[in-house]
Symmetry: C2
Subunit: 353 residues, 2 copies
DNA sequence: CTGAAAGCGCTTACAG
DNA sequence: CTGAAAGCGCTTACAG
């Protein structure tokens, strides 16, 4: 009934414990014959290595690093917070996580930060990445050193990481498009989008998905050219005012950050304001939802992403199969299905956008 | 740097390892003085018990049971599947999970099944519950035996369980109401709801939430009395046809199961069909979404719930603090943000509704 | 009330 | 290429 141990395997194979261990862990220096015997015994008994015992015996500590863009962006504050939180609550499991800030959205800065990682003894790193071939060399060096690497929120070059933990941004844009379309209830309208920059892959993908759905399923809606904002709240504020003044808009969709500016502009609007969709649930977007200045928030659930980053990195480090994990899905929030607000006041004070 | 062990604590406190262990684990038979000394040492060193080592040494196995309604309901099939899946992938961690089927929605059957649990040696059970005082006695007996109990999907009497793992059904209903309201784009309309039975607390709560939002925020919508369906696809099919024939409906919301019947009725509809919201993403609701027979699915993410049930039960059994966990939130699916379909064909074949 | 010792399933030198 | 033995941080009898 109780699962077989390595001793059982060794006995069944007619070899010593140490030899059985050698083949289980591919330590080499074992006769072909012994390998075969052990393999058979493993199969016959259905042996499965006890990772907890292994970790205990070797005093295993998982040293993880998270490379996150520097700056006071509300979303990344939330990410940072979740990392610290998760790490603290994994104390028992001997996992340490260090947050390393890198210059936001700059290839060279990221490249340097990744190189710096080589000097440190991390077992795994999660990186908010960029699509740039320049990152491939330092990432390869990391991998050669045996460090597990995953892309987080924004992907790295595919070949350079073991996994990507983040949402499908085309799907996110399509979802926004669907909701904007539905909210017109069959009527026509004029829709304005905002983006930080088209160089940011996630922004571009969201716009693409959004456009796809509008063109295909809601042809009665006119889609205006996107306004670029650099994710700056000031810019967003000015642009929103101007857009609202110029023509009759029925919907607004911001694929990027800087929402506090957009919300402020909307707040001054008299009469009916356009239907409004933004990304990421943070203090001010939550409040705007509750106060009815916006209608929908599409969120990528950074809490779930961080949780998953820990799980995936641990699995990669242990070289064991990844556990089954629910898909990461763009989550739609309205004012009625908001999760409880778990931010402390102290954290709130630090957040702006 | 490396965390202190119980030996460190014992040494610092000037007592033997065994005595330190006694106070850490409240085993009793320790002099007040020793207790105090150990407590001080623990505080001074910041000792935290290594659960993995403890489990290893005592050959810990977590034996879990899940009490799930019997029957071929697609949603509970999905739940069952996730339980087996999760259990299988926790093999390394020595967790076993047994699914026990109980007569669906019958207080007496559930009562008996809970009593039967007393004869078995489970460490923790998750129960798809009912609100009935009749359950309190057997549940109290379970608790007295030291078994951890949580309510799953549908809650048990509050005092009788350590936690509830499921969504807030009022919020789910409100969310549906919000979406239905938005989809009218400011126009008037006539809305029909369906429910299995008002005795089912979750159904009643969803209707309540739905009504709240419509009355408050969309007064131009006329809400017809709910039609009772016993969650039976046949009944739903007949009732939907009849309702569609009778008056001009602009929206449909089914708070319960039996959606295949509703979808079939909708499928035959010519011209524009009403906006349609149902609960739970399963094979046929997913397909209906993709084929545009319905517009929205509100899902409670059974995968996340099951995952959480394992985590919470383990924490309760270990008597350790619950790790921080993202709120369980009613998830909105449109055809654009569907997760990849992970069901195998074999599982699909077993599913109907 | 207290302590010494074996054992949980592994890994890691060390000796052959 | 192979094996015996100590140790990871705990729990569990057992002896005092």
């Amino acid at each position: 009934m109780t699962s077989p141990t390595l001793s059982d395997v060794a006995r069944a194979a007619g070899v010593s414990y140490a030899t059985a261990d050698r083949v289980i862990n591919n330590r080499g220096n074992v006769a072909e014959k012994s390998i075969a015997k052990v393999r058979e015994a493993v199969a016959a008994l259905g042996y499965v290595r006890n990772v907890a015992a292994a970790n205990l015996s070797r005093g295993r500590v998982y040293r993880l690093a998270f490379l996150i863009p520097r700056g006071s962006n509300a979303f990344f504050n939330r990410i940072r917070q979740h990392i610290e939180h998760t790490a603290a609550h994994q104390a028992t499991e001997r996992v340490t996580a260090e947050v390393i800030e890198v210059a936001a959205f700059a290839v060279e800065g990221l490249q340097d930060s990744i190189s710096d990682l080589l000097e440190r003894d991390f077992d795994g790193v999660a990186i908010v990445g960029l699509q740039s071939a320049a990152l491939e060399v330092p990432l390869a060096a990391l991998r050669d050193k045996g460090v597990a690497v995953v892309g987080l929120v924004s992907d790295l070059p595919q070949a350079a990481r073991a996994a990507y933990i983040g949402i499908d941004n085309i799907a996110a844009g399509r979802t926004a498009g669907r909701m904007v379309g539905l909210a017109h209830g069959g009527r026509g309208g004029r829709v304005q989008t905002f983006a930080g920059s088209l160089d940011a892959r996630d922004h571009a993908e969201r716009l693409t998905g959004f456009r796809e759905v509008l063109q295909t399923d809601f042809p009665q809606l006119e889609l205006l050219d996107p306004i670029m904002t650099k994710d700056d709240a000031q810019v967003l504020n000015a642009q929103t005012r101007q857009a609202l003044g110029q023509t009759e808009l029925t919907a607004l969709y911001n694929v990027g950050a800087g929402n506090s500016g957009l919300i402020a502009a909307l707040q001054e609007e008299r009469g009916t304001r356009p239907f409004c969709v933004v990304h990421e649930l943070v203090a001010h977007s939550r409040q705007a939802l509750l106060e009815r200045h916006i209608d929908l928030v599409i969120d990528q659930r950074p809490d779930v992403e961080i949780n998953r980053a820990f799980t995936v990195l641990r699995a990669l480090i242990d070289q064991k199969e990844l556990p089954p994990m629910p898909d990461l899905v763009p989550t739609i929030y309205v004012r009625d299905n908001l999760p409880a607000d778990t931010l402390t006041d102290k954290m709130k004070a630090k957040i702006d956008d």
